[in-house]
Symmetry: D2
Amino acid sequence: MQPFDLVIRGGTVATATDSFKADVGIRGSRIAAIAEGLDRGKREIDARGKLVLPGGVDPHGHIEQLSASGKMNADTFESATTAAAFGGTTTVISFAAQHVGMSLKTVVDEYHEYAKRGAVTDYAFHMILADPREEVLEKEVPPLVKAGHSSLKVFMTYDRLKVDDEQLLNVLQAARDNRAMVCVHAENHGMISWMGKRLVKNGYIAPKFHSISHPRVCEPEAFQRLIACAALVDQPIMIFHVSTAEGAAVIRQARSTGQKIFAETCPQYLFMTKKDLDKPGLEGGKWMFSPPAREASDQEALWQALALGDLQIISSDHAPYAYDKSGKLMAGKKATFKQIPNGMPGYEARLPVVFDEMVSNGRFDVSKFVEWTSTNPAKIYGLYPKKGTLAIGSDADVAIWDPKKSVTFSDKTVKDRAGYTPWKGKTVKGWPVTVLLRGEVLVENNKLRGKPGSGEFLARKAGAAAEPLGRATLEFDPKRNFGAKLR
Amino acid sequence: MQPFDLVIRGGTVATATDSFKADVGIRGSRIAAIAEGLDRGKREIDARGKLVLPGGVDPHGHIEQLSASGKMNADTFESATTAAAFGGTTTVISFAAQHVGMSLKTVVDEYHEYAKRGAVTDYAFHMILADPREEVLEKEVPPLVKAGHSSLKVFMTYDRLKVDDEQLLNVLQAARDNRAMVCVHAENHGMISWMGKRLVKNGYIAPKFHSISHPRVCEPEAFQRLIACAALVDQPIMIFHVSTAEGAAVIRQARSTGQKIFAETCPQYLFMTKKDLDKPGLEGGKWMFSPPAREASDQEALWQALALGDLQIISSDHAPYAYDKSGKLMAGKKATFKQIPNGMPGYEARLPVVFDEMVSNGRFDVSKFVEWTSTNPAKIYGLYPKKGTLAIGSDADVAIWDPKKSVTFSDKTVKDRAGYTPWKGKTVKGWPVTVLLRGEVLVENNKLRGKPGSGEFLARKAGAAAEPLGRATLEFDPKRNFGAKLR
Amino acid sequence: MQPFDLVIRGGTVATATDSFKADVGIRGSRIAAIAEGLDRGKREIDARGKLVLPGGVDPHGHIEQLSASGKMNADTFESATTAAAFGGTTTVISFAAQHVGMSLKTVVDEYHEYAKRGAVTDYAFHMILADPREEVLEKEVPPLVKAGHSSLKVFMTYDRLKVDDEQLLNVLQAARDNRAMVCVHAENHGMISWMGKRLVKNGYIAPKFHSISHPRVCEPEAFQRLIACAALVDQPIMIFHVSTAEGAAVIRQARSTGQKIFAETCPQYLFMTKKDLDKPGLEGGKWMFSPPAREASDQEALWQALALGDLQIISSDHAPYAYDKSGKLMAGKKATFKQIPNGMPGYEARLPVVFDEMVSNGRFDVSKFVEWTSTNPAKIYGLYPKKGTLAIGSDADVAIWDPKKSVTFSDKTVKDRAGYTPWKGKTVKGWPVTVLLRGEVLVENNKLRGKPGSGEFLARKAGAAAEPLGRATLEFDPKRNFGAKLR
Amino acid sequence: MQPFDLVIRGGTVATATDSFKADVGIRGSRIAAIAEGLDRGKREIDARGKLVLPGGVDPHGHIEQLSASGKMNADTFESATTAAAFGGTTTVISFAAQHVGMSLKTVVDEYHEYAKRGAVTDYAFHMILADPREEVLEKEVPPLVKAGHSSLKVFMTYDRLKVDDEQLLNVLQAARDNRAMVCVHAENHGMISWMGKRLVKNGYIAPKFHSISHPRVCEPEAFQRLIACAALVDQPIMIFHVSTAEGAAVIRQARSTGQKIFAETCPQYLFMTKKDLDKPGLEGGKWMFSPPAREASDQEALWQALALGDLQIISSDHAPYAYDKSGKLMAGKKATFKQIPNGMPGYEARLPVVFDEMVSNGRFDVSKFVEWTSTNPAKIYGLYPKKGTLAIGSDADVAIWDPKKSVTFSDKTVKDRAGYTPWKGKTVKGWPVTVLLRGEVLVENNKLRGKPGSGEFLARKAGAAAEPLGRATLEFDPKRNFGAKLR
């Protein structure tokens, strides 16, 4: 047998299906062998007592992006992907965010520049469409999807970003024509705006009123509407950051009809509640994100929705804004909750907090952890089998977890540039002590070994979402509602 | 590296998650390596252009068993497992079938004798309880479960086998006390009996009236009742051979509440309809099984239920009865449909007909095929990771499929002893040309290489059903409804 | 204008639709005029400040009937209908109760004798079928239905009364053939038996364990099964005494499909909970009836089900057993809850306790009170328009309510022969101070004016249930499932 | 007894509950007696063989109103209410239609002028809010509701009329503050706009494409959103002109939760389908209204929804536009379907076409006919008991129907000013041959006896919708979502 550049020896290897003791042999950037008793490699990593998992794939994060209110978020690609790497994630999909009036092509080019300069993990882009005018959809989207940007994102809320139902239908149609996925932030804008104005008018301005300003029903309502639009166009969709039991129930119902609905949730919805916003002064702003965290009963409902396959992914929705004595992103001490930017850092903590609950606490097994945080995002977004698993020929993106290592989150050790962690004080058991990207060590001994710019862009194939769950429910149907009715 | 006893070279290896090109190295009875460019083994199998899959696990088949009407079915363990082996299946779970008045221990001992004498595949037993009297449940069941018989089966219909609701609750409670699974043939007995009598009384006696005598609603009704009983006891259940869209919908609804419901269907429900019973004379009897095959729209609903995870397994419900000029099991030419035994041979055809549709026709991918026919039955019934996957350390049970080989089913080539195949004339693409059991060749060049009795009994651990889908929904809850209410 | 025998002057007349001030003029036994300023009648009743309502129709009560355990209940027709009359009810439908082996004709004849001897209100019979053997269904049922006994009742629980699913289907089919209604006590017998045995075996024998022995799920399960059977036969059914929110939800769902389901509840389910059973010693037995009262949240769900039309009737399920120092029906001080007869007196209190909540407390208006307690039972069971309304030509059965009169229930004033009232100590506002039957005073000044035997038998027409809610959902469909499938 | 001004003699009187033979005695404008054998009145109407019903109440019609595209519809109050009167309707609620920028008070004043000038039936107004700006809601709405305009209407579609979700919430809140009902035209605007543009762009411009441009899902989607908004505010709503089975199912589901949802449908949805639009040239425009008529299966679903109480009213949505050789409202021969005004005449035909099916064809009984077309609209909109029934003291608004009279609709006999009837050629059995308004003859011998302006304005009380179906589900809840959450 040819020699290995690297052998990870004696660990417990896990995929979304199996876990077993084996050595992993790497040649160049790829996995070449999974076996008992491999010959010695040029380099060896002792993984005895450790879990050898595919590197995490985080498909939802905002990097070097303007907030909904027009201010830049805290991270650069360097800081953000460094945080991801320390948390065991080796691939991120962030956003190329168009605002009104912008050329989408220009936006994508700019984000390519940012990423090329700083990324230490591999990366790809969802293209945010805040201005889906005809020329953008007809001229810009097709070549960009072909160039590997096979997912579009739209917002149904936020004054400066939201699309109305007709625009949403246009985006869904453009996605269908180009076999791209459509990701959606789905909350009812009118309800949020109406509630916010009533609250502020009545003097309820503290951060904790943020959760009240997003009434629970704004989520299932928007899901219903989005799903109805997607049904009309017959286009697969990904519903971002599900936060409520009612929202999960809407998704389950729609999937029952065979509609191609995917969905994700995030650690903040699995571990936090609206009570986290209830802090003195401006500090609640640290836990301000949209949709807001809900109740403990929602957490249980979301775990169940994951177990039942209604949700397929746990992403981070990383969206850091610096917090200092002027509040979040210097919103100022007199800021109402409507003026504080929404979002919190998430890249680093995503996998450890989920591992702690799923694997260390035994809520699920390690294969489910791999499936929801790495394999499913890779498959759904067209990165698989290069990313998302430990298989012969796949990229040697590996996170070696020490299941016994305990870590307590602290503001002092954060790798991103938010300046704080919303998980401060939480102790988790299990940590990715060594992380490899394409066969090279990225993180080791709590040090970053990767170089800014060493991350690579991942062109993604279109139509991927059709595949993992079978043709029956998920392939693009060649007969459209529209055409069929005219016959 | 230590040498391999056998190397399967150059095939496409697939698990329930991945598929990739690799060699598979076997030492003794177990898989030792999955890799690129393995060193030459003592023996080599050329798998280029072929799919290298885990051997099938068929958890539902009747061997050397009395029919509901008290007559012996057609197969011995030798003929039945030979048929399974030729169809790519290396593990079967058949039944140890108690009838009224029998000792369960004696029954199990007898089936051990039968199997030891003839089996060429590995095997285990579900224990059928037709007489769940107190001594059986309290004295016999506990040691038998501990001895590896970790699943019980009951019938809700058939005059001589059925349990009533109170008996069903007793069985569920005994299973809960012993952490065993309960498998159920769930149809409403009263409806079937009532319809059958009315039909026969009115002269509707041909085999085709069998399907009418099992009205559709008898399935969802029984599922509802069974699920209510299981909820009362908080006991996981496996619903056998789902045949209707309404039945699948009941299961989906119950799973939505977090109840631990598993379910399977069979190729006859995915590919046949009630029209197959409509043949001249007695021939329809060949397609007589219960529940009967339904409509084309049910087939679509069942595929969708599989895709959505509501059903997890495709088993065969192998139950062969010899057919000759006196009809099925010599029922005689004047037999009404109520007198013809229910069941058809299924071991050999199960995997090829499903592979043909899922993989060759592209309805799903090969990983889903592996999951539903091998990995899921192994995990749910406590055979995993020894069986059900290709992983380092697992038994080297391998089916090597030639995806280009076309085979047409014919009565002349059947390996079981039914004397006919209900798939006669159907051509499938894809066939398991070489089959290994624990590292030894079982089938090769269309010849059986295994010896009668070379199959091994598999003692199964209890409580397995709790594990594959996570603690949240599936573990045995230590707090019982009953106790909780008394506090 | 011809003179009136009786004028009820100056009251507020109410029907299921309207309420308005008017005089009511009666000639002979029937209502002849509803008008302003009627001429003076031969007799006058001053109804100023009072409500003039149709006499109550109570379609569910047991009189001179053997309990499930074979003992006679407390009432005679005289005592029972006297209690009903004092409570504002002028028509009852009680039971002619067959036990196993009996001739139904003989049973009906006997109950005719009992009633003729004692009844002070008008009456009709539901025929209980505990032994629906072929000769009963084919020979006895048709002429009895033609003779005006147009409703059958079956029990799905109680050891000595229950029918199994096949018997249930036979009864439904016989009802369909004769256009009779089928009323059902629907609880899952196996669950109740199983729970009861486990409780008693573990020493939980006090009356309060009665409610635990009827687990909630035994109601929706039995409803589902009953509804499935009725769908198979395409036969309208009346589900008796709904007690749970889940049961009501099953009914609503089935009605959504257009199936002809009617249902009732009783005051004990609207005002009592399982806590009423929790009394020292044997006293809880006074509140022992089946199904048992449930939770406060079920009360709300049942009111809502009435408001939504899912339930159409509030009946009493009058079933009195004498209570003395030996306990209920002399069950004895060592009786387990399984040995205490089920049932409580209900004829007298039904209307006052419901009026108090609906009208005096304002939960609904007086028209809804009339609809659920008089008009709907009359329409559904074939007594309308003779009974159940105040319309020209209808029987002058009138209850004149004083909405300001307060009455506190006491054991001392009960008119039936149970010897106690389960409503003891409850004060209601509103009481039927004068009651007329066919134009004659039945109760006045707290005195009975009717004579034993003055009540008349009411022959009821078959097929009535088809009418009140329209052909679309409720008429007997001439095409049967069974025949249709054979074509 | 005092003499009667008018006696309707010998007919069959029907209310929403009862029907029976009786004479009806009228004094002045009100009903004074319903009885057998009334003394002779000053005037007599022979009603033998006829049905004596309350005059119809039609709560949905557009009179002297600008269309969505800004053009005046065909009718004046004189022509419109004349058509209504000939069809047996004695009360209409039409619209006072604000457009953007207008003062609501001014609009209402103008409609008062129009109506006073011409109406021959009694009338009231729903106030359409196309511009619910703060001053309108806070300054104008409260006094107008107090003045008897206790219902608001909004559109969720039409470019010039629609409100967005935030405006909708503001209207719902204003209604709640003033205890007014909110009526809604609920269709998803984005879907309709998107489909319309795609159709026109592709050359699909004929009238028949109108139905395709309103995809089915645009109705249940809008219902879901509207219901979610109403739930947030806890405000009762009336959903106008339900057209689809899916829409009806959404309503049923929402009512199951206890939410205060009322709904209506119209004859066009019960008797027409989208095929009626498929006529040569511009003629399909005659059947162009929104939502469009759907399929035969929807008709069945709507009848069932009425039977189940999910819908409570059959209104006309009278909205006539003149049709001549230049097409509908002179849209011109080259008009695309987007340029043709939506609406058809409906006042005259509403009751006869519904009577024909419900009563003459026997689908339901006459009481249901009265309930859905007269009693329920009167109760829900605050006109009861003055209107909507035949009770002592109610207005003597009476329609005397000859159930044997057959009439064939023809363009030549239409009373409104559309110039055509969409029911042309249809023959109905049953016709209101004599119509009374407040005791005066309005129509007789096919002649109008009323004078323009003799109709009276009906000030309606607020909060009425709480009453007919009981406090439990329908009263205005004093605890608001909003306030509750802040505690």
